[in-house]
């Protein structure tokens, strides 16, 4: 990609939502509402340009925004539209800087699109990259915070015009805690902005090229379907993902624990995996894949379930008995696998201290 990047057009929206759903690794929320909102903005003449990381000036500031709240509220109290933009203005004012680009903290699921909406409203470009290269349940699980970004200031804004700025917070955990509480007061659907980051820092810690990766994945799925080709093998060829398991879901257990959806899915192997059985541990996203009792793919590496025939990404909410699925594994970016990152997003951080992280090759 050239430094000028490329504009997002309406035909990008379907690939974007498919690719974002897949990199959501089972979680990340449904991008449907966000996709409609972006389509409305584009049809009304707004534009948004995707620029590569290297196009950022070292001294320029980059804002990061996303939705915060409960998924069920997201489908009922649809956003006014400027929540994230107001939160962005809140952190800009508190930090005394102006942002010249926006970046997503989480490319998987619905928070891939929220930054584009804000960028379109603000007339800013959106950066081709993000802070996870996938989806995770909490804000501090992005490379931005793993590598030491001062979390102050942060801001949260509602549909009515209220903006709450967190001027000084001692770390991300407190910011997350305060923001979640205020999000509830705001009706459990609000816009969130984290502190503006210098371009030089973003270039160093962002997972690069993930927006184009998402678009490429979505286009491969659509193209394979149109040509009646096998979506799974096309995806493997295009992304370097590894087919970890093929099978039929024989059981799904889910419960709410500490605000997260925690559970497990059992899969009985078919085709080349006939005779084997697999189990996926879930916390909003797919965390660990066990085959015949042994862990073969471990968070933060990406574990992605797709419907065997259609290649439709399957979220942990729609996973159910009887589905024929393929489970693909994709190595997480190196930035997510350093000792420092693994403290925050490795198996131990998700309650699996006995499982050492062994990266997918």
């Amino acid at each position: 990609m050239s430094r000028e990047g490329f504009p997002v057009v309406e035909s990008d929206l379907l690939p974007l939502s498919l690719g974002a759903a897949l990199l959501g690794t089972g979680g990340g929320g449904n991008p449907y509402i966000g996709m409609l909102r972006l389509r409305e903005l584009l049809r009304k003449g707004a534009s948004v340009r995707v620029i590569p990381l290297e196009a950022l000036d070292d001294e320029a500031f980059v804002g990061s925004v996303g939705g915060i709240g409960a998924p069920v509220v997201g489908i009922e109290k649809i956003k006014q539209g400027d929540e994230c933009l107001r939160a962005l203005r809140g952190v800009e004012e508190a930090a005394g800087v102006k942002c010249s680009a926006i970046i997503s903290a989480e490319i998987g699921g619905s928070n891939s699109i929220e930054p584009m909406l804000t960028a379109a409203r603000a007339g800013l470009p959106v950066v081709d990259g993000d802070g996870m290269g996938r989806a995770f349940p909490e804000i501090q699980m992005s490379t931005f915070f793993i590598y030491g970004l001062d979390p102050s200031p942060g801001a949260i804004a509602d549909d009515k015009g209220n903006v709450v700025v967190f001027k000084h917070v001692i770390d991300m955990f407190w910011l997350e805690r305060f923001a979640r509480r205020i999000a509830v007061e705001m009706g459990a659907g609000a816009g969130f902005a984290t502190t503006p980051m210098p371009g030089a820092y973003v270039k160093k810690v962002a997972v690069p090229n993930t927006l184009t990766q998402v678009l490429d994945i979505g286009r491969v799925i659509i193209d394979a379907r149109a040509k009646h080709q096998d979506v799974i093998s096309r995806l493997i060829d295009a992304t370097g993902a590894k087919l970890l398991f093929t099978g039929k879901v024989t059981g799904v257990r889910r419960e709410l624990r500490g605000g997260f959806s925690v559970g497990e899915a059992d899969i009985a192997g078919v085709d080349s995996h006939a005779g084997s059985s697999a189990r996926i541990a879930i916390q909003n996203e797919n965390l660990v894949l066990f085959v015949d009792g042994k862990p073969v793919a471990i968070v933060p590496d990406l574990i992605m379930n797709l419907q065997l025939e259609s290649g439709e990404p399957i979220t942990t909410e729609t996973l159910r008995y009887g589905q024929q699925i393929a489970t693909l594994g994709l190595p997480a970016h190196e930035l997510m696998k350093t000792p420092r990152a693994l403290e925050v997003v490795g198996p131990r951080a998700f309650g699996y201290p006995a499982i050492p992280f062994v990266p997918l090759s």
Partner: protein
């Protein structure tokens, strides 16, 4: 009680006469362009087959595709105003934003966004503004629109804004009729609002259709009361059907599933309805079709009201069998209603699944000599392929590894042996008219789906409250007091919400009160 059940489908209008649990007669008649003459023909035929006088009939239940077809074909739809309460929230996506342009144009595309609505916990988003609504009423009047759909954020939690807005608008627009989204759908603003708008645009047609059914019954000499079947397998009376035509969407597959259950006497099963071109598979749970959990599209519009979770695939009695380089393929192409002229056993040139069934000795049909020379290996491979397709369809509808019977209905049932994927297959009597039987046996239901905060009440109290509200709905829909039973209770804690916010869904059913 002598009942007639009618199912008006795209190709056939099926009718049965039932005395209690017994099927006295069942007929198939062609669906006609004007629909009603086909209904009269079916009524006359089934009465004569049962040897009954019209006055012997106590009640008539009708399942119809009229309203689905009106939306799919964009005809007979009223100009409609969509009024949404929720500002400043929701401004980013106006009503009908995800509709196909032609459907939106067919109903005028009129929409208004106003203040009002609630948060998930029942607080107001903003106060309802009477002057704002009166201004909207002026505009609706000036446009000459008299069908109005009102939606409000979190109206399944609190219906107050929708009812107050309706009262205000109704005073200013005395000739208009109103659909409230909270009467139709559940949480999910766009989908619930879509269903409400579709309902409003069908309201004029609903009056015409209900009247036409009344006339058809008159023409057949039947003076009995009549009901329409809803997509959850329950009934609504004529006046309710005039108000909520959208609830008939997809009642056809529902009636098939319910009829199959009744004829076979089981309440939990997988039902496969095999027609000429496609098979529909659905799950029967406690006597009712399991509803879809994801948005269902009708005429290109996403809705979220209680549609049966039906999976269709291209296997039927007329499906083409082709032996190619990659092995044998079955369907999705089909000779359809031309089976009786194009299949090999009927002297035609096309190898169909019916020919394979005859060649395999599953059934005697047409001239077996025409398929006597078919390659034995091809027959075996085709049968294996059909078995695989059926197993995949059935597996998709199972929610647990518990063994369930599979009930097979429809004309294509001849393709099925006595097992599908290890599950026992049942083919009940009268399988060809299972859909009309499903209409005839329909009950009356009431359903509630809302979010409760368990910080201020116990889980049991929340479920009791929902059950009382659902019972009230069933009684007002015509159920007999004392016959009501709870068929479904589901409570789901909501992620990332405080105060133990829990979504409670309760469904009750009762016998129809025909007194």
């Amino acid at each position: 009680m002598i009942r007639i059940g009618i199912d008006v489908g795209g190709t056939n209008t099926d009718a049965v006469v039932m005395d209690g649990a017994q099927v006295l007669a069942g007929v198939k008649a062609a669906t006609t362009g004007d629909v009603m003459s086909g209904v009269v023909a079916a009524l006359n035929a089934v009465l004569s087959a049962a040897g009954l006088e019209p006055r012997a009939i106590d009640v008539v239940m009708i399942g119809t595709t009229h309203f689905t077809n009106a939306v799919v074909q964009r005809r007979d739809l009223a100009q409609t105003a969509a009024v949404r309460l929720g500002l400043p929230a929701t401004a980013s996506l106006p009503p009908m934003v995800d509709w196909p342009d032609d459907l939106k144009a067919a109903i005028g595309g009129h929409y208004y966004m106003a203040h009002g609505g609630h948060e998930f916990d029942g607080r107001e988003i903003s106060a309802l503004d009477e002057r704002e609504l009166l201004g909207i009423a002026d505009d609706i009047r000036a446009k000459g629109v008299h069908a109005v759909a009102i939606s409000s954020v979190f109206s399944p939690v609190n219906t107050g804004c929708e009812t107050r807005a309706r009262d205000i608008l109704q005073k200013a627009l005395p000739d208009a009729h109103f659909t409230l989204s909270s009467d139709i759908g559940r949480i999910g603003l766009l989908e619930r609002e879509n269903a409400a708008i579709m309902n409003a645009c069908l309201s004029d047609l609903a009056k015409l259709v209900v009247n036409a059914f009344r006339h058809a019954l008159d023409a057949a000499g039947i003076e009995a009361r009549f009901f329409l079947t809803q997509n959850d397998g329950t009934l609504m009376d004529a006046s309710y059907a005039e108000r909520f035509p959208v609830l008939t969407f997809a009642s056809g597959p529902t009636n098939s599933i319910r009829g199959a259950a009744f004829l076979s006497g089981v309440s939990d099963a997988i039902v496969v309805d095999i027609g000429g071109t496609t098979s529909d598979v659905g799950a029967l749970h406690k006597g009712f079709p399991r509803p879809a959990t994801v948005a269902v599209e009708v005429g290109g519009v996403r809705t979220n009201f209680r549609m049966p979770d039906v999976f269709s695939f291209g296997l039927g009695g007329g499906s083409l069998v082709v032996d190619g380089a990659k092995g044998v393929t079955v369907g999705p192409r089909s000779v359809g209603y031309k089976l009786v002229t194009e299949a090999l056993v009927f002297g035609g040139e096309t190898l169909t699944t019916t020919d394979i069934a005859v060649a395999a000795g599953r059934i005697e049909l047409g001239d077996p000599a025409k398929v006597a020379d078919l390659d034995k290996d091809l027959i075996a491979r085709t049968e294996a392929r059909i078995a695989d397709m059926l197993e995949a369809g059935v597996e998709r509808s199972r929610l647990s590894p518990d063994p369930l019977p599979v009930i097979v209905v429809g004309g294509g049932s001849i393709l099925v042996g006595d097992k599908i994927g290890g599950l026992e297959v049942r083919k009940p009597n009268h399988y060809a008219v299972a859909n009309a039987v499903g209409a005839a046996i329909a009950q009356v239901s009431g359903e509630i789906d809302r979010v409760y905060s368990l910080a201020s009440m116990s889980r049991a109290d929340a479920i009791n409250d929902a059950t009382e509200k659902a019972t009230a709905v069933a009684l007002s829909a015509g159920a007999r007091a004392g016959s009501i039973e709870v068929v479904d209770v589901e409570d789901v804690p909501l992620a990332y919400l405080p105060g133990n916010a829990t979504r409670v869904h309760v469904k009750v059913v009762g016998e129809l009160d025909v007194a």
